[in-house]
Amino acid sequence: MKCTFEGSNARVIAKAIQSLSKVGKELYVEVDQNGLLLRAINATHSAVGSIRFKRSMFETFNLPRTGNADFYCKISMKPCLAAFRSMKQVEHCELSITDNQTKFQVKLRCKLETVRQSVIAILDEQNITAGVLPDHSANVIRGEYKLFMEISNSFNAAEEELTLEAKSDSLAAKNYIEGARVSDRFMRSQLKLKPNEFTSYNVTQDTVITFCLKEFRAFLLFAESLSADMTLEFDEPGSPFFLKIKKHDDIECLLIMSTLSPDDVSFSEDYCQRELTVQDAASPVNVSKKRKGSAPTEQIEHKRRLADDTTLSTTSTDLALFQYNGLRTTPTNISEPSSVQPARLLPEGDTVDVDDDEEALILAAAVAVESSQTMPTANELLSYNSQEAPPMTVLAVQEDGSDEDCVPQSPEHRDNVRAIFSRCFQKTYVPREPSPSSQMYAPNSDTED
């Protein structure tokens, strides 16, 4: 596979890679007849970004000669960023796959006859495909990137999530959720916009959605570099949120993000795994094939994962990290239709408690011990390099493509004292009243309350 393009397009591709690097740690490259597709998925699998470059952007475009005219690979993001770092002097760029399809080569011909060549090892031949179709949302808003930049700048750079309250005649961007308890030290900001500020504003269903700001900003950055309009499409809380950027029919970007379900208080570090649902046998996913032809209804595939594709209940882990984290005594199940679905690997797809160690301990010591053993792991397994995952056994994490015989880490030492006096070590943020849009699945069984 080989494709070449000239300097200014190379700069666009470099910017695309920079934006995708803010989403995920690995870059999935797909080359097919239509062009080049770059994708990334974030650590907690709550956002998938993909940028497609049509063939018209390239000077030459040679597909692999094998029968299957598609090509997929996955490469680590860091070397990519390093390869496409300073693009000012670049006049011509060539991407190719060499060395019997194990290496991804980037050759940049720069001014003054310099040639910069980077060879990046291909980690695996995996691909992400998203299981949702982004065309049937109830609400569609389109606006210039400048407007969204202003919205984004009204909020702190460290802000985690953004809530949009969309009504037919107004849009409010907030950094808090109405009705949810917040801590006293939290500064609330709100920006009210009118429909006529947008290029097109079509909100048929009043909704309040909350999504992560980090990936949004990553794509906003790319839209800014293209000076393109951004289109937001969304339905209701809990269902995925789409962000599209389109430029001259050459470049198409799509960012799919999960939104906060009405049950949850907030995203936490290990975001909502809510989009991942149980994959039953009925779903037509073929695990053994390494390369997958793109099926019309694509589904996310991750090979070689020990993770169960499980229904992961809401996370309220890592209380120390987030102010809003409600202590949930009852895990809630995700019931909304799946958007992002993991490939199923193990036959057991049962509900796994993602509750934190210590939280489970509140309920009963015995239960705690039990639940700690069935630790999710799913949580952590699905996130390759996330350091945010709660300290749990690292058994299942595998760097794909690296070594078969990776030695699992020994399980971490559980501090028994903390297990016994757990309440003493906790930040006790327990919302006295539930959020207005919440549902009680079981009454509070905490005897101390």
């Binding site: 900001s189 709100q190 009210k192 009118k194």
Partner: protein, 289 residues
Amino acid sequence: MRFRARMQDALYMREFQSIIATLAKLAKECIMILADQQMHFIVNEEHNSTTAPLVWASIAAADYFPEYKMVPAREDHPYIVLAMSAAHLSRALAALRTGATVNSCKLKLQRIQFPCFSVIASVVSQQSAEPREVVHDVPVNVVAASDWPAYKIPKVPTSQLVLSMPSLRMMRNVIDSLKNMSPTMIFHANAGGELNLVAESEMVTITTAFRHLLLRRLVNRDPTDNDEQQVAPDASCSVDCRKASSFFSALQLPNEELSIGIDSENCIHLQLDVRESVVLHSILPAVCF
């Protein structure tokens, strides 16, 4: 207890924002005292911070706020005292600083889930023709009247000599470099309009002399001594370099009318007159060698 104020003029809003930005650079927390026709901010009241001096700002309400209404909790305690994070307030007002034209800015004391100070700015950006509303709610702690004695507005010290400062930028650079020389710095001023900054270390003594400064005020130490005119009285005081440096680097105000008053061996008083009844003060206490 109620408070409501509104700002209309873009220039005033920008000045207000820069005053708060200055305070935000100096310390994390600040105290806001709302009096009947005055607004005060105090930073570093208790001198806990070793790197920032005591700074306070007094703003006459009539200057900035065409509409200003303060109703205290009790009639016999005619103030509202709030403790809040300076950084939050500064960020809330950041909208007033940008190039976008701001139509108006409302300040309100509200209680949503907790008491907070709301800044509601009506901004017209380049994109849209219509104003949009930006609301920031800064959480505050209301200080009870029993604690008010701890938060008194500091008194302006009586200085023997008050000179107007040379260029702010130059002072900032000089003090920044002197900061590395020695922990303390001596300000010498005399009635001839000279200000000397001296930093001493074991190896070297550096003196920066500013001349031809305007003399603002001169208090004769010995009032009965009327024929001692040829002896130009002077004043000197040694202060902590870091505090001085942090004050000068924190200043965000474009105005350059800064005056320095020296109370010999007691303190240095810096005063920035933003406008006639909007003043920013700072006190650098004297340190011993």
